[in-house]
Amino acid sequence: MQLLAYLGRRLLFVAPQLVGILLVSFFLLKLIPGDPAVMMLGPFATDDGLARLRAELGLDRSLLEQFLIYLGNVLQGDLGTSWQTTLPVTTDLAQRFPATLELVTLALLLALAIGVPLGVAGARYKKGLLRTTADYYGLFAGALPDFWFGLVLIFLFYTTWALVPAPLGRLDFVILPPPEITGSLLIDSTLAGNWQALRNAAGHLVLPVLTLGLINAGPILKMTQSTMERMLESDFSRYAEMCGLPERVVARKALRNALPSVVTIVSVLYGFLIGGAVLVEIVFSWGGAGQYAVGGVLNADLNPVMGFVLYSAILSLVIYLIVDLIYFAIDPRTR
């Protein structure tokens, strides 16, 4: 019951939060110099033509008016059109957002699978191979730029050993994509029973997921290790030790107490990577959401950017909600 009341309170704030986010990003984007009309009509546009297009786009009105019009459209489910793709932003994002989500989700799962066990081992053992590995891993993963690491992987696994398909998008061109249901190629091709597409999509995912996963395991490892170390030195661990509980039991207690921090760092990484994976997306021509938004910023194509912001904001809010629910489940003090 308490949980329901809490969820209700949270949902109440979602709408104002989203409007606020849109407002801020709208005005920030307008601060970037660049005139869509000039970009759209090209270098040979006449002044007349430019003025007409601006009026058509509503660019001659005040910023506030422009924002209110945009907000009104959003409420009706219209996020505008991208002049680059000439498609509605909702259509574009319906394709690109799942692409990014699939990539980022898998990458973070991999990062968790590496970061948490290594972090725990690093905290539990004061020396030894695992500890050394944990220390160096944190150092290197923090120091490597992800796009560069992606290029290295491409060079090794594609150019040299030809183990994976060409790093050009999510599927080979000759493969028929499965009908779109969830947007995740792995899930959709499984649902369609299209094993060829499944294998091919998985092959395309391997390198970008490795790139992002291996790099982002770094912060997860660091967070796990430092929190775990703190928990192992905390009063309750010391007490557990005095009670003669076996080391693995003490470690398990410490890990449980360290989990909220791990969940937090994962949620932060998740929100960040939706846009922050853009360099890796470019390296692998992924056609993801980050790439789409950056293209929009560079070409004064604001609707895609705003659409991206809106989608990411909603996603972040959902993630934070899930995080809160996880805290709820782990920690009795929050109940």
């Binding site: 009063d235 309750f236 010391r238 007490y239 557990a240 030790e241 005095m242 009670c243 003669g244 509980l245 076996p246 080391e247 039991v249 207690k253 449980r256 107490n257 782990i330 920690d331 009795p332 003090r333």
Partner: protein, 329 residues
């Protein structure tokens, strides 16, 4: 030395010295040559201010000296067995089962994510091979023994849902879980208000005395030791400076520091002013002298005190003090 150690002690410390290495210097010795033995069923109070080495004493007996400190010298024997000879696993089995600990601030020392029942159960499961129903039955029985009302409900409570006094009782229940031979109470009850403290102490006394468990009662409150300790020891700067049977100690304290502690505890203003008047308690650390560590704060200090380290001498049968000029009455 043998005459002041009881026969067949449960636990015996001989020359226990704990040191922390210091960069570019002599290691810091937080415990220096502690000799102490407890007979079965005996209750010994150890009094000292913070920094005297009280907590380190508890942890050293558990063989859990925090890094980078280590037991530099001395021997701890439990039931005649040298604990230094035991491997990690054997020591672990001793802790919580044969030697139990009652801690201060139990609300922060209990695992916040586990219920009372889980925490008692952990100890029962790992030390005694009990099955689930037996663990639950035993846990409830323990909670009842430490006078926790409504144990069926409290067994599912989390530490943050307990009051300080309740948490202290839970910790006592955990300590008693495996019917240990020896219990160390480290500043337990210190965070509780006075009435609760009195209840918890009375309970502790009853449970320990009834079972004939030996208890090392470490505290900073010298008054508490008057209630139920058979012997009282005063710890200063990592050394036992006075130890004696309770009556002898309170009737005729010998060491100026012990008297200072008693005076500080006494509510009598005149007595306090008399002892505290021209001492500089808490004076800045000077260079370590080779003499009596208390010399800088001692009203009786003379030249000899600053050069010669006093030895623990027997003043009366079983009553020892470490002072060149003990107080005579």
């Amino acid at each position: 030395m043998s005459d002041r150690q009881p026969q067949d002690p449960v636990i015996a410390l001989e020359g226990l010295t704990v040191a922390f290495p210091r960069y570019g210097g002599e290691p810091v010795r937080v415990l220096k040559g502690i000799d102490l033995a407890l007979a079965p069923g005996e209750v010994v109070g150890v009094v000292g201010e913070s920094g005297s080495g009280k907590t380190m004493l508890a942890r050293a007996i558990m063989r859990l000296v925090p890094r980078p400190g280590r037991i530099e010298a001395g021997r701890i024997s439990f039931d005649g067995r040298d604990m230094g000879q035991l491997d990690g696993e054997a020591l672990r089995r001793l802790r919580g089962r044969d030697i139990a600990m009652i801690i201060a601030n139990p609300r922060s020392e209990l695992d916040p994510l586990e219920t009372v029942g889980q925490q008692i159960g952990n100890v029962l499961r790992h030390h005694l091979t009990l099955d689930k129903p037996a663990i639950r039955a035993r846990s409830l029985e323990l909670l009842r023994q430490v006078s926790i009302p409504d144990p069926e409900r409290r067994i599912n409570a989390y530490p943050h849902e307990l009051s300080g006094g309740m948490a202290q009782r839970v910790v006592m229940a955990i300590a008693l879980a495996c019917q240990p031979r020896f219990i160390i109470s480290d500043d337990a009850t210190s965070g509780l208000d006075v009435t609760v403290q009195a209840q918890v102490l009375e309970l502790m006394r009853k449970l320990v005395v009834e079972r004939g468990t030996s208890l090392l009662f470490i505290t900073r409150d010298i008054g508490i030791t008057a209630h139920f300790c058979d012997r009282v020891a005063v710890l200063f700067a990592g050394e036992i400076v006075e130890i004696g049977p309770r009556h002898a100690f309170f009737a005729d304290p010998k060491h100026p520091y012990a008297i200072l502690l008693l005076a500080a505890y006494a509510q009598n203003e005149r007595l306090r002013r008399y002892w505290l008047g021209d001492t500089t308690a808490g004076a800045a650390e000077g260079p370590a002298t080779t003499g009596c560590p208390f010399a800088r704060r001692c009203v009786r200090a003379q030249d000899r005190c600053r050069t010669e380290h006093p030895r623990l001498e027997e003043m009366a049968p079983g009553h020892f003090a470490r002072c060149h000029f003990p107080v005579e009455r």
